[in-house]
Amino acid sequence: MRNLFRSLMPALALAALLAATAQAGTLEDVKQRGKLVCGVAPNVAGFAFADDKGVIRGFDIEFCRALAAAVLGDPDKIELKPLQPRDAFAQIQNGAVDILTHRFTWTYTRDNGAGMRFLMVYIYDGQGFMVKKASGIKSATELNGASICIGQGTTTELNIADYFRAHNMKYQIVSFAELDEARRAYEAGRCDAWSNDRGSLAARGMQLAKREDHVILPETISKEPIGPVVRQGDQQWANVARWTFFSLITAEELGVTRENVDEMKAKSENPEVKRLLGVTDDLGQKNGLDNAWAYNAIKAVGNYGEIFDRYLGPKTPLGLERGVNRLWKDGGLLYSPPFR
C-alpha cells in the first residue's frame, strides 16, 4: 500500500497544483512561516541519512540548513521532506517544498519546460558500475551481455542505454522502484553489475554485507552535475538560494571557516571578506535579507570544504576524494562568481 500511495503522490500533488492560484514570493512565504521546507533524498549514507538519534543529517542537509540560516537566522528552522525522486518534481512544481536539496542531475529537459530551475552545482558526480571482485571484470567495456541492476528515478537508464549503444554492447536492465532494492538484488546475484552515480555507489555500498568483495569500475559513463532546484518563476528566491550556496564556496576560497568566521568578521581587512560577511556594503538587503545572511550561513554549517570533509571526505566512512569537487584554484570545478 505504501507504494501504491507513493505512485499516487504525483497525481495528488498535481490536483493541488490545479487548485492553486497565484502565490506570493517564496521568500515572503518562508519568512512568514518561520520555517524552510526542503525536499531531500530518502536515506543516502553521507548525503541525507538519519543518525543514531533519528535526526536527518548529511551533505545535502547542510545546504538546507545554510539557506535557513541565511533567510531566517537559524539553521534549525527547517522541515525536511524525504522524497522519492519521482515525487520530488511534483512537490517542487506545486510549492509543497521551497527547495530540493536532493540528488538531482542538472539536465536540459529538467531545466526547461518542467517548471523547475537548477541553481548551481554543489557536487560533480558521474555514473559508474560496481561489480563483484570474483567476476574478474576490470573495465566497463567487458560488460557486454551483462545484467545490470539499477534504481529508477534518475538519469540512470538513459546513461546506460547510451553507453552500451555507443560501445555496441548488449545488456539487460533490471530497474527497481527503490535504490536499496537494486543493491539487494545485485548482492543476491540477480545482476552482474550495479549502476548508479559514483557518490551513491560509495554511499549505498556501505550497506553491502561484504563491501571488500566488490569494486567500483574505473569508467565514469556520464556527467552528473548535481544541484539544488527551485520552482521556476520566482527569480528573487532563486537568487537568494543560489548566492547563499555560492557564499559557502567563496568562504572556502577566502579561508573563512566556522571557527574563524567571528574573528574574520571583526578583524579581516580583505574587502571581499568584508562584503561577504556584511561588514561593508549591503549585499543582503539587495535580496531582501539581513546583511549578516552569509555570515549566518557560514557560522551554521562552515564553508564548502568543511561540509564535504564532515560527511563525504576521506575521514568519513564514505571516504570520497575531493577530486573534481575541489576549488577551481586547486584544479577542481568549483567556482563561485565574485561577491561585489
Partner: protein, 384 residues
Amino acid sequence: MTLPAWSRRPGAVAIQAAVLLAVVVLVAMAAANAATNLGRLGINAGFGFLGRPTGFAISQSLIPYSETSTYLRALAVAALNTVVLALLSAALATPIGFAVGIGRRSSNGLVNALATGYVEVIRNVPLLLQLFFWYFAMLRPLPPPRQSLSLLGVGFLSVRGLALPWPQAEPGLGVVLIALLAGILLAILAAALLARRRVATGAAPPAWPPMLALVAGLPLLAAIVEGFPLRWELPHLSGFNFEGGVLVQPELVAMTLALAFYSAAYIAEIVRAGLDAVPRGQVEAARALGLRPRTVSARIVVPQSLRVILPPLGNEYLRLFRNTTLAPAIAYPDLTLIFAGTALNQTAQPFEVMVIVCAAYLAINLAASAAINAYNRHLARFAR
C-alpha cells in the same frame, strides 16, 4: 401508454439536470485553471512525447521493442506485461483457492488446520512483504548462470531466470494452424450432433475419442504432410547470460507466486462461503434419494454454490489486477514501473503520464469487469 419521465416527475429531473450542469462547469473551470497555471509555471503540456523515442530499455517485452521505439510502444509493452502478470496470477490463484476453500470444510482435522493456517497467515501479512519474501527467497539459493541447473539439456535454471526453448515458425506452419482451427470447429459440431442423438435415442457413448481425434489428429496430420514446420530454438550460455529461446525472469515468477498465493487465500474464503450457502437439507435429501456422493457434489452442491461464488470471485480478480501495481518494488516492468516511473522521470510531465496510466488501468479493468458481468448474467439466467 406511459408518459415521458420529465412529465411524470419534473422536479427530480430538474435537480438532476442542475447537478449535471454544476459538474460540467466545475470540470471546465478546473481544466481552464490548470491550463493557466501550467502555462504560468513554464511547464510543457500535451501528449506529443508519445511519438518520441524513449531511449531506455525494458527487461521484458512480448512485442518487439528497443531504445529507439516510441513512448506509445513502451506503453503497449508495459500494458501487455501487466495483463500477462494478471492472467498468470489469476490462473494460478483460482485452483489453489478452490483447493484450500474445499480444504477449509474438510472433516479431516489435518487438512482443515493446514487450510485454515494458510488463509490466516497469507491474509494477515502485507502483500508487499510477501513480494520481497518470494523474490529474495528465490534469488538466494539459485546458482549463477555459469553453474545453472540443466533441465535435460534443453532448459536452464539460474538466478537470471528459467531459460526455455522457444518455437520458431517455418514455412508451412499456417497450414497446421488452419488444420487446428478446423479441428476445433468440427469437434464443436460433433459435440452438438452427439447431444442431439442422445436426446433422440438416449444412447450416450463417450464423446472424447472423436473430439480428440478431430482436435489433435487433424493438425498432426497436417504437420506430418508439411514436415513439422516448427523449429525449437535452444537457449545457450553466451558471456554473462543465456541467448536464444525464451527467458522467464525471476521477477515475473516471484510476482506471479506472490499475487497468486495472496489472492488464493481470499478466493478460498469465497469458495468456503459459497459451499456453506447450499442448505444442508438439500445434501441430506439428495443422499436420502440414494445419489452417490460424487453426484451430490456435481449436481446439487457445486452448481448452486457457483452462483454465490462467482460475483465476489470476479471482484477478487479485479483486486488482483490492481495489486499488480506493486510490481515496481521487485523490478517487474509493468505499467507502473515503466510508465508511472521511468517515462514520468524522463519526460518530467507527471500530469500527462499519470492521466495515461490511470486511463490504461481503467480501460483494462473495465474490460475485465464487463467480461465478468457478462458471465454473471449468463449464469443468472439459469438461476431459478
